[in-house]
Structure formats: C-alpha cells, structure tokens
C-alpha cells in the first residue's frame, strides 16, 4: 500500500498532464496550469525542510563538540542573523531588497562578493585543467585541441589582431560542427528523458520513491 499509492498518483498525474497537452477543452487544458500552480506553492514550502535538516545537523555537532564544531556555530549564527535582518528589513522598508534595507547591505557587501569569488575560481581551474587535459594523444584529441584554441582566440580581440577572420572562424566552429554535435546529443538526451519519464509514469523506475 505504501508503495502502490504513490505509483498510482504518479501514473494518473502523468497521464492527465499528457492528455492536457493535446486536449485544450476544459478541464484538461487548464489542469496543467492548476498542477503547476500547486507545484509553485509546494516548492516554497520545501525550503523549510532544508532549514530544519541543516539546523538539526549542526546543532547536534555543537552539542557533541565534534571536531570542527566552531564552523557549525558560525553557520547557525549566520543563518539566524540573516533571518533576523531580513525580517527587520521587511518590517521597516516593506521589502528585504529595498536599497536602504540592512539586508540589502549584507547582500551587496557579503553574499555578492562571496558568490563572485567562488565563480572566479573557475578561471584558475580552467587553466590547470586545460594544461593537464588538452594533450594531442590521438587525432580526435588533436582536433579538439585545435578547435579549442581557435574558438578561444576568436572570442577575444587578440584573435582579430592576429588574423582578421579569426572571429568568423570561431563563429563557424560554434555554428556548424559544434551545433551539429550538440543537436545529436540533445536528441539523444531528449529521447532518454522520454524513455525515463515513461518508466517513471508506468512505475517501472521507482528509485525516487520513499
């Protein structure tokens, strides 16, 4: 019973939404919109689940004084501080994202730089990955290497300085061979997703179930 009920719900919901795609008449045409609205509402609530898990895990670490519990203290304190600041900003300014709000100050001067810093790590990692992995071991690897270099040069003004048609070469590589390969992959992935969705709807694939 515990497994059968979710399977039935999955099957019925899946079939109804597929019917809704082809039958615009009420109630089928609007069912998808209704289900999507329900999903939007439920999606907001799942955040509470996550916060609950986070707080319980780290509070447990602090109570048991596990190694590294200091970081858990920082995490819980930051969570509480951000929450209080956000609520205060909403009460005082009507929105946490108001330019005068202290929450916006925290966002602009802490969250923004931290996120941008993590993203900028990619510049370093791409250099080390390229140095290590872009070796002309065989014909395929050599082709990849040459194409990569041409696109890298074509995407910056340096390329035009070296050879005036470099940007066009880079655009051609992106427009033609790259897009052909990508389309092939996309079609394969789409078919794979159709097959997997069919397996989920029919109850053959059950790994996501409680």
């Amino acid at each position: 019973m515990r497994r059968e009920v979710p399977l039935v719900i999955t099957f019925v919901t899946g079939i109804v939404i597929i019917i809704g795609l082809f039958v615009p008449h009420k109630p089928f045409g609007e069912i998808q919109q209704t289900f999507l609205k329900w999903y939007v509402i439920i999606a907001g609530f799942t955040l509470l689940l996550g916060i609950d898990s986070l707080v319980i895990t780290h509070w447990g670490k602090i109570k048991r004084r596990q190694p590294g519990f200091g970081y858990s203290v920082v995490l819980i304190a930051s969570l509480a501080f951000t929450l209080i600041l956000g609520i205060y900003s909403i009460i005082k300014y009507g929105s946490a994202f108001d330019v005068r709000a202290p929450f916006m100050y925290l966002y602009m001067h802490v969250i923004l730089p931290l996120s941008a810093t993590m993203f900028s790590l990619l510049a370093f990692f791409i250099a080390s990955a390229a140095y290590r992995a872009f070796r002309a071991r065989n014909v395929d690897a050599a082709l990849l290497l040459v194409a990569g270099i041409l696109v890298m040069l074509g995407r910056v003004p340096l390329g035009s300085m070296l050879y005036s048609k470099m940007p066009q070469i880079a655009d051609w590589i992106m427009d033609v061979p790259q897009m052909a390969a990508k389309r092939g992959l996309l079609i394969g992935i789409a078919l794979g997703q159709i097959a997997m969705s069919l397996r989920v709807i029919l109850g053959i694939e059950r790994t996501y179930l409680r």
């Binding site: 597929i18 795609l21 082809f22 039958v23 615009p24 008449h25 009420k26 045409g29 609007e30 999903y39 799942t46 955040l47 689940l49 996550g50 898990s53 986070l54 895990t57 447990g60 590294g68 931290l114 996120s115 993590m118 993203f119 790590l121 990619l122 990692f125 791409i126 080390s128 990955a129 390229a130 290590r132 992995a133 872009f134 990508k182 992959l185 996309l186 079609i187 394969g188 992935i189 078919l191 794979g192 997703q193 159709i194 097959a195 997997m196 969705s197 069919l198 397996r199 989920v200 053959i204 694939e205 790994t207 996501y208 179930l209 409680r210």
Partner: protein, 365 residues
C-alpha cells in the same frame, strides 16, 4: 486636392479585419486580426478594438499596439461583432468596417500537435513493445559503458584506502530526470558500499532530493543485509545556493579525502570547481550529466564520464533487469526513426516546393 487628401487619410483605416474563434484553446477567446501598412505605424498611437453583442452597442474592449488582439472574455456560443479604430498621435480616429459575427468555442483536440501525438504514440509503442519482448525472455544486447563498469572498482578503491565515498547529486530537483537517474546510481553505489562497510556521504542541494536520497541509501543498505550500518546523518542538506554548495562540497572533499567521488546529476558552472578539487585530492572520479555545457569539464577532469543518455540507462545497465533493458532497446529504435526523418527532412528541404510541407508538419507545435 480635397479628394486626394481624403484618399490619403483612408490609408489609416485598418483593412481586412477578421474576427474568429481562437484556435486550439479551452474557449472564451476570439482573435481579431487586421492589416495595416508598417510604414504608417510611426503615426499611430494605438489601435482600439470595439465589440458589440447581438442587438447591443459597441463598447471599447481593449487597445493594441500590434496587428492583432485577443479578446479572452467572450461567452462560448454567443455571436460578437468587432471593429478596429486607428488612433493617430494627433488624436484623429479612423474606424474599420464591422467584422462578425464571431463565435468562440472550446476545441477537443489541439490540431497543431498532431506531430507530437504521432511521434509520441510511435515511441511509446516501441518502448512498450520491446519491454514485452524482454519480459518474454528475449536477450537484448547493451554495449559496454566504461563509466558504469568502474563503479564497483571505485567503491573498492575507497574501501582499500579506508576512505569514504562521496556522492554528489548536483543542482537538480527531484522533478529533474538527471536527478532521478543519479538516485538510481546512488542505490547501486550504496549497496556496494554497504557490502564493503564503507560510508557514503551525500551532500544535497535540495531538501526533497535529500529525503529521497536518504530513503534510497537506507533501502540499499537493507538490501545488502547491513541496515545497522546506515547513518542518516551522512545524507544531509547543504545549501540551495549554487556556489555555497560548491564551496561546501569542496570543503568536504578536502577534509574527508574520499577515495571515490561520484558526480551524478545536473550541474552548472560549479562542475569544474568540484571536478578539479576531486582531482587534486587524488580521488577516482566518475561523472555523469545531461548538462551538455558541463560535459567538456568533466571529460577533462574526471576519470570516467557518462555522457547524457548513458546516465539514464545506468539503473538498467547495473541491474540488467529485462523490463528496463526493453525500454532502452525501444529508445534506440526510436532514435533510428528520428534519423530517417531527419534525412528525409534534409532531402525535402533541398528539393523545396510542396516537399516543404513535410518539414512544416514537424516544426509546428
């Protein structure tokens, strides 16, 4: 001169005003279209759409700045009449002839989606047919996928080193197919890890995925006969911020030093950060994603990469269940049909003329 001025002003009257039922909808909508010279649009402030019912008076229904207007407040079965008025920037108004009666109604079938229905039925039939053949005991061939063959080797390596296994499900939600595929691989990895008594760490981006992962791992440990080894705290929620998640996972990698890292799910820009950090700690890495933009990074930095649909067949490949093998075979046959359609489409596009209808049929939605 007067006649010429009058003729000149007549060009501002909207022409060919057609009001008809809006096709392929649930009713209560009429679309009004008209033609107006593009060269005169700079003189126009807006178009007014006036509507009246049988025996009633014209009332302003709405305003448009394009050459069409959707009136979505009609009653099905009731006739309506429309006229369109051009409002110039200097305030002058030019009204069109009356168009109508137009009656709205709901349609039982979306005629623009025949192509999706036909292809959907064919593909579903193929998948179900091959599942039936597999159930009857027919042997179906599946090619080798090195990344999946290496799963047992990776867990074994972690066990030898006395290190845990790290399983990263990426940034997808439970509604994403790559996440479901990742969970099926997690099931297999967890079962093997339970047999070898190796802990599996699963930091999660989404709380719902976390609960699904907890159940998957618990089930896997039970199937391996080691439910006592299951530790719920090893599968935990980290954060729903992309780079916060990347920072958290990197921290876990550098502190826990896992022997094997599985990156299976949907990834974005943080993929290379995770993969490079995994490389720097010397872990064996098996990645799999349908995010095409991240595949090059995984191929460069990981030992094995499951490309796109190879990830979706993982549960089938690892379990070798006949029913699921059948669905893979059906999928492959569907791909052959698509290839044939593409070749026919290319030929039709080259020939042109009436043959373009073949392409038009498949490009409408």
């Amino acid at each position: 001169m007067y006649k010429m001025n009058l003729l000149f002003l007549l060009v501002f009257i909207p022409q060919n005003v057609v009001a008809e039922d809006y096709p392929n909808d649930a009713g209560n909508a009429i679309i009004i279209r008209w033609s107006f010279p593009d060269s005169l649009l700079p003189y126009v402030r807006a178009f007014q759409i006036w509507r009246k019912e049988e025996g009633g008076e014209f009332r302003l229904r709405g305003v448009s700045i394009t050459n069409s207007f959707l009136d979505d407040s009609t009653e099905d079965g009731k006739p309506y009449y429309y006229k369109v008025a051009t409002v110039l920037k200097d305030g002058r108004i030019f009204e069109s002839d009356i168009s109508g009666p137009a009656v709205s109604s709901a349609q039982w079938f979306h005629t623009g989606r025949w192509n999706a229905l036909i292809l959907g039925v064919i593909f579903s039939f193929l998948i179900l047919w091959y599942i039936r053949r597999a159930k009857r005991g027919e042997k179906l061939f599946l090619r080798r996928i090195p990344g999946l063959d290496a799963v047992d080797e990776a867990v074994g390596r972690s066990t030898e080193m006395g290190r845990p296994v790290l399983f990263v499900l990426g940034l997808g939600y439970i509604s994403d197919i790559p996440t479901i595929a990742g969970l099926s691989i997690l099931s297999r990895v967890a079962k093997k890890a339970a047999e070898y008594e190796t802990p599996v760490l699963v930091p999660c981006y989404d709380p719902v995925v976390m609960t699904a992962a907890q159940e998957t791992v618990k089930q896997a440990y039970a199937e391996a006969g080691r439910p006592d080894l299951y530790n719920e705290k090893n599968i935990f929620y980290l954060t729903s911020d992309q780079f916060g998640y990347a920072a958290g996972v990197d921290g876990i990698m550098l502190r826990e030093r896992p022997g094997a890292v599985f990156l299976q799910g949907y990834f974005f820009a943080e993929s290379l950060i995770l993969a490079e950090t995994g490389y720097s700690i010397g872990a064996i890495q098996i990645a799999g994603t349908s995010a095409i933009t991240q595949l090059p990074f995984f191929i460069a930095a990981c030992d094995y990469t499951l490309i796109g649909e190879e990830m979706f067949v993982a549960s089938t490949y690892l379990s070798r269940e006949p029913v699921m093998l059948g669905s893979i075979k059906g999928e492959d046959f569907a791909k052959i049909i698509l290839m044939i359609l593409i070749v026919i489409g290319v030929i039709c596009a080259c020939i042109g003329g009436k043959f373009l209808k073949f392409i038009e049929f498949f490009s409408s939605a």
